[in-house]
Subunit: 353 residues, 2 copies
Amino acid sequence: RSMATLARKNLTIGLIPADGIGQEVIPAARTAIEAVGSDIPSLKFVDLVAGFETFTRTGTALPPETVESLKEECDCALFGSVSSPSRKVVGYSSPIVALRKILDLYANIRPVVSAKQVSPVVGVPPDVDLVVVRENTECLYIKQEELRVTDHGKEARATRLITERASRRIGQMAFDIALNRPRQAMIHKSNVLSVTDGLFRETVRAVPDIEPKYQKVTVMEQLVDSAVYRLFREPKVFDVMVAPNLYGDILSDAAAALVGSLGVVPSVNAGDNFVMGEPVHGSAPDIVGQGIANPVASIRSAALMLHHLGYIKGANRIDTAVDSVVREAAYLTPDLGGTARTEDVVNEIVKRI
Amino acid sequence: RSMATLARKNLTIGLIPADGIGQEVIPAARTAIEAVGSDIPSLKFVDLVAGFETFTRTGTALPPETVESLKEECDCALFGSVSSPSRKVVGYSSPIVALRKILDLYANIRPVVSAKQVSPVVGVPPDVDLVVVRENTECLYIKQEELRVTDHGKEARATRLITERASRRIGQMAFDIALNRPRQAMIHKSNVLSVTDGLFRETVRAVPDIEPKYQKVTVMEQLVDSAVYRLFREPKVFDVMVAPNLYGDILSDAAAALVGSLGVVPSVNAGDNFVMGEPVHGSAPDIVGQGIANPVASIRSAALMLHHLGYIKGANRIDTAVDSVVREAAYLTPDLGGTARTEDVVNEIVKRI
Ligand SMILES: CC(C)[C@H](C(=O)O)[C@@H](O)C(=O)O
Ligand SMILES: CC(C)[C@H](C(=O)O)[C@@H](O)C(=O)O
C-alpha cells in the first residue's frame, strides 16, 4: 500500500511550514532532503502558505492557490504545524484537517521509536517501538457540528462518522505494516459506542478474511482508555495500533511521551496518490523564534515520506544519519535535555548523510 | 457542592458488585465501611445486581428492581465493574453508563494521588496529586447512534452532545474542588470541535463571572492530546482537570498509570441528590476469582462517597488506614508489586481503622 510504484524521475515537494516552529523545522527538512538530492534525479520545492497566520493576513487558513499547487504541481508535501487561537475565531478552521480530507490522505502513520541513548524525563525504559496507524478522514474530524439555543440554554452537537469503507482501508494499511511486525491492536471504545466503534472493530477484524496474507498477523483489541493506561505500564505489548481518528490523535501523543519528546516523532498523511509528511508536534508558541526547535521530527517525516514514495535509499540515508546523531546525544535540542540549536542539529545530520 | 448537608442518621448503601473482580472488591469496601460503622448511627446495606452476567442470566444488564431500590431505598451506592463482551451482543448496554444518566450523577470525580512509597513499574517520579473532574452524562456517552447501509457499504454515526447546562455544572464542581487547590485546567479539543468543545470551554471559563469566589482559581487550558502528553512529561503541571466525558475517561486512566496501578484509583459519580462510589479499574477478567484483586480503589471509593455525604470523620479514618497500608508496602497486591491477597490487604486496613 505504499506508493513505491509511483517513484519518479522528477519529484516536486510542496513546503507548507504554516505557523510557529513549523517555520523553523520545515526548512530543516528541506535541507536534509537536498542532502540526499543525488538519489532523486530532479528535485523541486514549491513554497506554499497555510495556517493561522495566513488566516489573519488573508482571511483564509488554506488559500485555494495552496490546494491547487498541491493537486496540480506537487507529488508530495511537508506540513509544519498550526497555531490554535486561544479564543474562538469566527471563520477559522484547521488547514491540516482540511488538507487530509481534500487530498484524501486517509492514513496517518506515526512510528514511535525510542532513541535508545536518550534518557527520558519520566524515566520510562527506552525500548518503545510501535506504529500508530490513525484513520485520518472521519470520526469527529468531519466537523459536522451545530448549535441550538433552547429554553435550557445552548446545546451543541457534533456527528461522529465511521464508515465501513474508511475502516477497511485503514485496516488494510495497518495489516500491511503489521506484516513486517508480529502484532496489530485495534483500539476502540465499543463498550460505549457499539454502533460506530462496533463497525470499526468488525470491519478491521474482517480484513484478513478478504486478504488471507494477513492471517499470519496476531490481532488484539483494547479499549482506548485501557490502551493509554497499558501504553504507559507495558509499552512492549503494542506493535501496530490501529484506531479511529480522535483516539489515534491521543494515542500518538501518549506514545510520544514515552520516547522522550514530541520533537522526535514523525508522521505521514498517506493516500493512494499523495503523501504529506508532518511532525507530530505542534507549533510550540513557547519556544518559537528562539532557534531551539527540534528538527528531528520534521526530518524523519521527510524520510518517511520519501520511503513511502519509493526513494528507499535516500530515506534510509536520512534515517541513519538522524538515528546516529540522536543516539550519540552530542547534538540534542533542549526538549531532549541538550543545549544544541536547531541549526547545529541540522548541520550534524547533513554532515552524516 | 458536596452533599454534606444530606448527612443523615440512617444511611442505606446499595451494593452493586456487578462483574469480574467487582464481586471481590465491593465486599471489601463494605467491610471497611462497617469498620467505621460507629460513626454512622444506622447503617444498612442492600445487595443489588447489574452487569453482563446479569444480562446473560436475565436478559437485562440493569434490572428495574435495581434502579427502583437505588431511587427509593438507597442514599448512595457502590458499583464494582462491568465486563465488556468481546463480540457485539445485541441488546446489551453498559449499566454503569445508564445509572449515571438515570440518577443524574453528573460529575465523575477521580482523585489520582501517588502512594509515595510505591515504586511504579515505569519509574515515574511518584509525586502525582491531581483530580480529574469528568462530565458524566453527555458527550458521546448519550449513545445516540445509527447505522445506514449505502451503496458504498455501511455508515455509522454517533451524536456528541455538549450542553451549556451540563458544562456549567461540571465547571462549578471543578471550581469548587479547585478552591482548595490552586489551579484548574480545562481539557478540550476546540481546535477541531469548535462548536461542541467551544461551548464547553466558553461555559466553564465563564463560571467565575457568575460566582466571583472562583476568581482566585488559576485557570489554564490544554488540548486533550497535549494534555495526555504533558500528564506524562510534567504531571505536576496539573491539579484539577475538568473535561467532557470521553476525554475524562481517557485522562483518568492515563493519570492512573502514573501512580502505579489502576487498582488504587477511586471515583465517585456525584449528583445533587445521590452519590455512587466506583473504582476506576475494570472487571479484570485476567485475574478474576484468584483472590488477588486490589481492594484499595474500592475502599477509597467508599471513603470518597462517605466524605461527599458529609461523614468526614469516617471517611478520614478509612483514608488514613488505607494510606498507611499502601505507604508501608508490606501488604500490597501483585498489581503493586506485592504478594498479598485481597483479604490480607482488607484485614490490615480494617485493623488500622
Ligand atoms: C492540529 C490538530 C488539528 C491535529 C489533529 O488533531 O489532528 C494535531 O493534533 C495532529 O495530531 O496532527
Ligand atoms: C465501563 C465503561 C463504560 C466506563 C466508561 O467509559 O465510563 C469505564 O471505562 C469508566 O471509566 O468508568
